[in-house]
């Protein structure tokens, strides 16, 4: 049996009596790319938020690498090695691309807090080289000195990916990395994610676009009405009648 | 975007090099030639500069403006212009109407903002930049004490303007500072007999007191003066300065059994608390079979305008009032009224008098040196400046003179005619031992600055 990195145990979450998540059990294995799919309102984002500590489950627990994440603060979860890329790109809009990447690099190296009052950031040669490399890998060599607020949405998303990658996370959570993209950009993103996958990072990806899911995922969990209705390899999922039912009329599988 | 990217071109570099060079040479230019000067800001040219430091912004701006008018008038008279005002009535006078010691009087002005820091900054500018040899003005005790301390350090003379706290010439007295204005103790001593006469011995007083040094000092003086005459103090409640709405302090008065309310407030606090107390119907009340009364220990006509009809019939004390009929007061009112179209306030009066007294002291001693001025002023007895015979007591640099008890006019004939003098309490009744208030003058500072 492979190593289990993230274990979601019997998680329940409801908002004002409405069950957003019930009986969620999910195991993410090391080095796999695990996609969570489901129709709108199935509870995908809620699940992700529970995983990174943004939301507290009503019951159940989330265990990452033997550590219970439930009740932990976002920065503590990140320091354990969980990085997240948001659905709408969340970057530091006032900073340049390179600084955007330097910040998580520092967080990785120095921990959640370090009083380095007199250490000039420009003297962090090693980190800078690394940051530049990550940006170059993502095709942003020309944008390093650009301020993030002036970037296109696609570039912001790549920047955010770079911010996560530089931390070499044990677990990477991607929330709809191709939302709102044109087909051409989506394909570019798929290439990018495949590259990352080749680098060997455990990834959980939430996605609407089945093309993306089937090009990347090793395993897929299907969420509907706050429950996992199916789990398995892409091929298994393709043929699952429950999944077809859940998606009926909504999207072609 | 930050300055770090501003372009550093060669010109800028050269400039900074130049500046650096200049900086090294700088201090030399600014250390004054100490040997040529016997004391701070010794006048060397044909003129002498006085500094008038008054509130020009904030709640006391109108009072400050009136003080400034008086200062300008005094300078005019000292320089021999105008009708001479009280120079003509002042005796014994050494003033010649040709400036001070033959030097033309010039002045600089500043804004105290009624804040100690701003007042000291302004006074420092006058001393350090404009070469003022005497600072005068101000309309609160905090500011007066702060500036007095500064003048002591700098070695110039301070002639206090409107400051009523005992501390100015008590705990915080300084050798270089002088006060013509009266204080809370004198107010209490002057009001005591009048209140006894008007309202009887069997009274129960309720004090509302502004919660800072002057208020406490005023309350203490009033309690001494009234309690020694048989009055009882029901309660003494401290109110925050600038409270605005005093209703929460006034309603408890209604059922406290008190029959007199003493408002130890000044300025805007006085205007507001008095207006509101009257609105609460206190003056229409009967308590213990007597008419309920309100007393305002320190009255300023200028500020009292703000209380409108509320001041009618209310007793208080004042340093001076323009309705006085003595020759000196009349000469001053005539001169001031002709110049500005309105009678002077008591703040204006004390500032005018202080300027004249300073000039006279210089003439008497034949010098601008603080040592000489202090020597001339200490124990100086004079008359003809509107308060009758007056003495600058040597022990605490406080003027001793008669104190006016006034009452709000029931039927004012003009908007200036708010107060009428009901009693002139003689000096002997308000005098006290200099040791009573503590503090010490210390040595006169007449060092070069």
């Amino acid at each position: 049996m492979e190593n289990i990195v993230l274990h979601v145990n019997d998680v329940h979450k409801s908002f004002a009596g409405l069950h957003a998540l019930s009986d969620i059990d999910l195991s993410i294995r090391e080095d796999e790319t695990h996609a969570i799919i489901g129709p709108n309102g199935a509870g995908k984002s809620t699940l992700l938020n529970v995983c990174i500590g943004r939301l507290k489950p009503d019951s159940g627990s989330v265990v990452f690498d033997g550590v219970t994440l439930t009740g932990k603060k976002p920065h503590e979860i990140n320091q354990l090695g969980v990085a997240r890329v948001f659905q709408t790109p969340e970057v530091f809009p006032d900073l340049t691309a390179i600084d955007n990447v330097m910040v998580p690099a520092l967080a990785k190296r120095d921990g959640a807090f370090k009083m380095s009052l007199f250490k000039r950031l420009s003297r962090e040669k090693d980190l800078r080289v690394e940051a530049e490399r990550v940006l170059e890998d993502l095709g942003m060599a020309d944008q390093m000195q650009q301020v993030a607020s002036e970037m296109s949405r696609g570039n912001k998303r790549r920047l955010e990916l770079a911010m996560s990658l530089i931390q070499k996370p044990r677990l990477l959570l991607l929330d709809e990395p191709t939302a709102g993209m044109a087909r051409h950009d989506t394909n570019a993103t798929i290439d990018l994610l495949q590259k990352i996958k080749a680098g060997g990072i455990t990834t959980v990806i939430i996605e609407h676009d089945m093309h993306v899911v089937f090009s990347l995922a090793d395993r897929i969990s299907v969420l509907a009405g706050g429950r996992i209705i199916a789990q398995g390899t892409p091929d298994e999922i393709k043929d699952n009648p429950k999944v077809k039912e859940a998606y009926l009329g909504e999207e072609q599988v | 975007m930050s300055i770090n990217d501003f372009k550093l071109d060669r010109r800028l570099l050269m400039k900074s090099g130049l500046i650096g060079g200049a900086a090294l040479a700088t201090p030399m230019h600014f250390i004054k030639d100490a040997h040529a000067e016997d004391f701070c800001n010794m006048p060397k040219g044909k003129s002498v500069t006085l500094g008038f430091n008054v509130p020009q912004t904030g709640a006391y701006a109108d009072e400050g403006a009136d003080e400034l008018r008086a200062f300008k008038l005094a300078v005019k008279h000292l320089n021999g212009e105008g009708d001479g005002g009280m120079i003509n009535t002042f005796k014994p006078s050494s003033l010649k109407g040709n400036g001070i010691l033959g030097k033309k009087v010039e002045f600089v002005t500043g804004d105290t903002q009624t804040k100690s820091d701003a007042a000291r900054a302004s006074a420092k500018r006058m001393i350090e930049k404009d070469g003022a040899i005497m600072i005068s003005g101000g309309s609160s005790s905090g500011v007066a004490i702060a500036v007095q301390g500064l003048c002591q350090e700098a070695g110039v003379i301070f002639m206090a303007g409107l400051t009523h706290s005992n501390d100015t010439t008590g705990k915080d007295k300084r050798a270089n500072g002088f006060r013509h204005f009266f204080n809370t103790h004198m107010s209490g001593a002057a009001l005591g007999p009048v209140l006894e006469k008007e309202y009887g011995k069997d009274r129960k007083a309720y004090h509302l007191t502004a919660d800072y040094t002057w208020g406490w000092s005023q309350e203490k003086s009033m309690r001494q003066a009234t309690e020694s005459r048989g009055w009882k103090t029901v309660a003494a409640v401290k109110t925050p300065v600038g409270a605005g709405d005093f209703s929460q302090y006034i309603t408890p008065v209604l059922n406290s059994g008190a029959d007199v309310l003493i408002l130890n407030h000044y300025g805007k606090d006085m205007v507001n608390s008095l207006t509101q107390a009257v609105q609460f119907g206190l003056r229409d009340k009967q308590v213990n079979g007597k008419n309920f009364e309100i007393v305002v220990p320190l009255f300023s006509r200028l500020m009292a305008q703000g209380a409108g009809d509320a001041i009618k019939g209310i007793f208080g004390s004042t340093n001076w009032n323009w309705s006085l009929k003595d020759a000196a007061s009349q000469a001053f009112v005539k001169s001031f009224g002709a110049e500005y179209g309105a009678p002077p306030s008591m703040a204006a009066h004390t500032c005018y008098v202080q300027t004249l007294l300073y000039a006279n002291a210089c003439e008497m001693g034949g010098t601008f040196s603080p040592t000489g001025v202090v020597k001339s002023l200490e124990g100086f007895k004079f008359d003809g400046l509107g308060n009758g015979p007056t003495e600058y007591r040597a022990e605490d640099h406080q003027c001793f003179k008669d104190v006016l008890v006034v009452q709000g006019n029931e039927k004012p004939t003009s908007k200036f005619d708010l107060l009428s003098v009901v009693e002139v309490t003689p000096r002997s009744k308000v005098e006290y031992d200099a040791k009573m208030l503590g503090g010490s003058l210390g040595p006169v500072n007449a060092k070069p600055c």
């Binding site: 920065h75 969340e90 910040v103 520092l106 967080a107 | 550093l8 500046i19 804004d111 040094t213």
Partner: protein, 396 residues
């Protein structure tokens, strides 16, 4: 472009130091070259630099920073009264005390952000002010302000505790056998801290404070603060615990405020409660925004401008104006004096208010943007970026 090169920073620092040290010469044409005002420029410059570390870098707008200034002043005067007139112990003690005070207030206030944080700091400062003015008079000497006094007579030493407000001890000075005549003046190992020596003392500290602010702005720590301002939420998902960074920034800027409060007492040993009033807190906010929040030099420029108006414009009276317009014929002169009189003397507030409006309308980045306009950088930059973004950046 947030990272200046080391060389540029060094040059900036040196130019700044040169300008500050040469201020007595440079400001002479403006009539602002007298010690007290120069001291005020330096002291409020430090105050604004410190405030900018919090507000400019993290975006957290404190409306109670004057409290730390006030605490610094009181702490210094107490050291003068109890220990020594030498300024070194006073300055050190003040910075420590205000740092502790800032830690307490910051620890609580930083539980909230945005306007809620601003109001919490305002509330703490106003409570400090109100209590210092009245109930705490035994420590602060209330409205009059805490002052240096003469030494208590030695035979009274037994009951000095009762009268410390009015009689001083100066234990260290006494131990070293310093003889006092009347009320002593603050000194730095014998150099009197009034007048120009006082200014140069403040100037050196201003230069050091400025250098420190460059270091902080360029440091890893500074980058975290900028990231907080930019997107605090994202930063915590990046693995950073933002709270200690914020508290550290708050305490550092509180210590700068304490230092400037201490210097106010050093150059003029009187500490009054009004220093802690909200208007004083508001003043440093205005200084920083006026100069350009988030820039290095802007806050100092803003502080200088406001203090200049307060001290120089307020002192211009009709007599002075008459002199200025003496070249005009009589009638015209009177008219010119009357019109100008509205804006100077007792009308200096009007000028200040108009200035605030004009600067913020035309120079959204504060004075520093004006400066950049003059140096021509703006135009070149504008080609690369859209003007709106350029102008928006500095003040955010």
């Amino acid at each position: 472009m947030n990272q200046g090169s080391l060389f540029k920073d060094l040059m900036l620092f040196l130019v700044f130091a040169g300008v500050v040290l040469a201020a007595p010469v440079l400001l002479a044409p403006l009539g602002a070259n007298y010690p007290d005002l120069l001291q005020k420029f330096a002291i409020f410059g430090i105050f604004a630099i410190g405030f900018n570390i919090l507000f400019g870098l993290t975006g957290y707008l404190s409306f109670g920073h004057a409290a730390f200034l006030g605490v610094g002043s009181y702490a210094s005067v107490w050291v003068f009264k109890l220990l020594s007139m030498n300024v070194i112990p006073a300055v050190i003690f003040s910075v420590i005390v205000s740092g502790l005070f800032a830690f307490l207030i910051g620890f609580v206030s930083l539980r909230r952000s945005g306007i809620y944080f601003s109001i919490l700091t305002l509330a703490f400062a106003q409570m400090s002010y109100n209590l210092a003015y009245s109930v705490l008079t035994p420590i602060t000497n209330g409205e009059t302000g805490l002052q240096i006094r003469q030494l208590a007579p030695s035979d009274r030493a037994a009951d000095y505790v009762l009268n410390l407000r009015d009689e001083d001890l100066r234990i260290l000075d006494q131990a070293f056998g310093v003889v006092e005549h009347g009320i002593p003046i603050t000194n730095l190992f014998g150099i009197k801290m009034s007048g120009y020596p006082g200014f140069y003392f403040c100037a050196v500290l201003l230069i050091l404070a400025f250098g420190l602010s460059i270091l902080i702005a360029r440091s890893n720590f500074g980058m975290m603060l900028k990231a907080i301002k930019s997107n605090q939420n994202r930063l915590s998902y990046t693995g950073i615990n933002t709270r200690p960074y914020l508290i550290a920034a708050f305490v550092i800027s509180g210590m700068f405020a304490g230092l400037s409060g201490s210097l106010l007492a050093v150059t003029d040993p009187l500490a009054g409660a009004e220093r802690m009033q909200w208007t004083a807190s508001g003043e440093v906010v205005l200084m920083t925004i006026l100069g350009g929040a988030g820039t290095l030099v802007g806050p100092v420029l803003g502080a200088t401008l406001i203090k200049f108006f307060e001290n120089i414009f307020s002192a211009i009276n009709d007599n002075v104006l008459q002199g200025v317009y003496s070249f005009l014929p009589d009638g015209l002169r009177e008219a010119a004096v009357a019109v100008s009189g509205l804006f100077v003397g007792s009308g200096w507030h009007l000028t200040l208010g108009l200035l605030f409006m004009i600067i913020v309308i035309f120079l959204p980045g504060g004075l520093m943007q004006g400066f950049e306009l003059i140096t021509g950088r703006f135009k070149r930059k504008a080609k690369a970026e859209t003007p709106s973004q350029q102008s928006k950046q500095p003040a955010e």
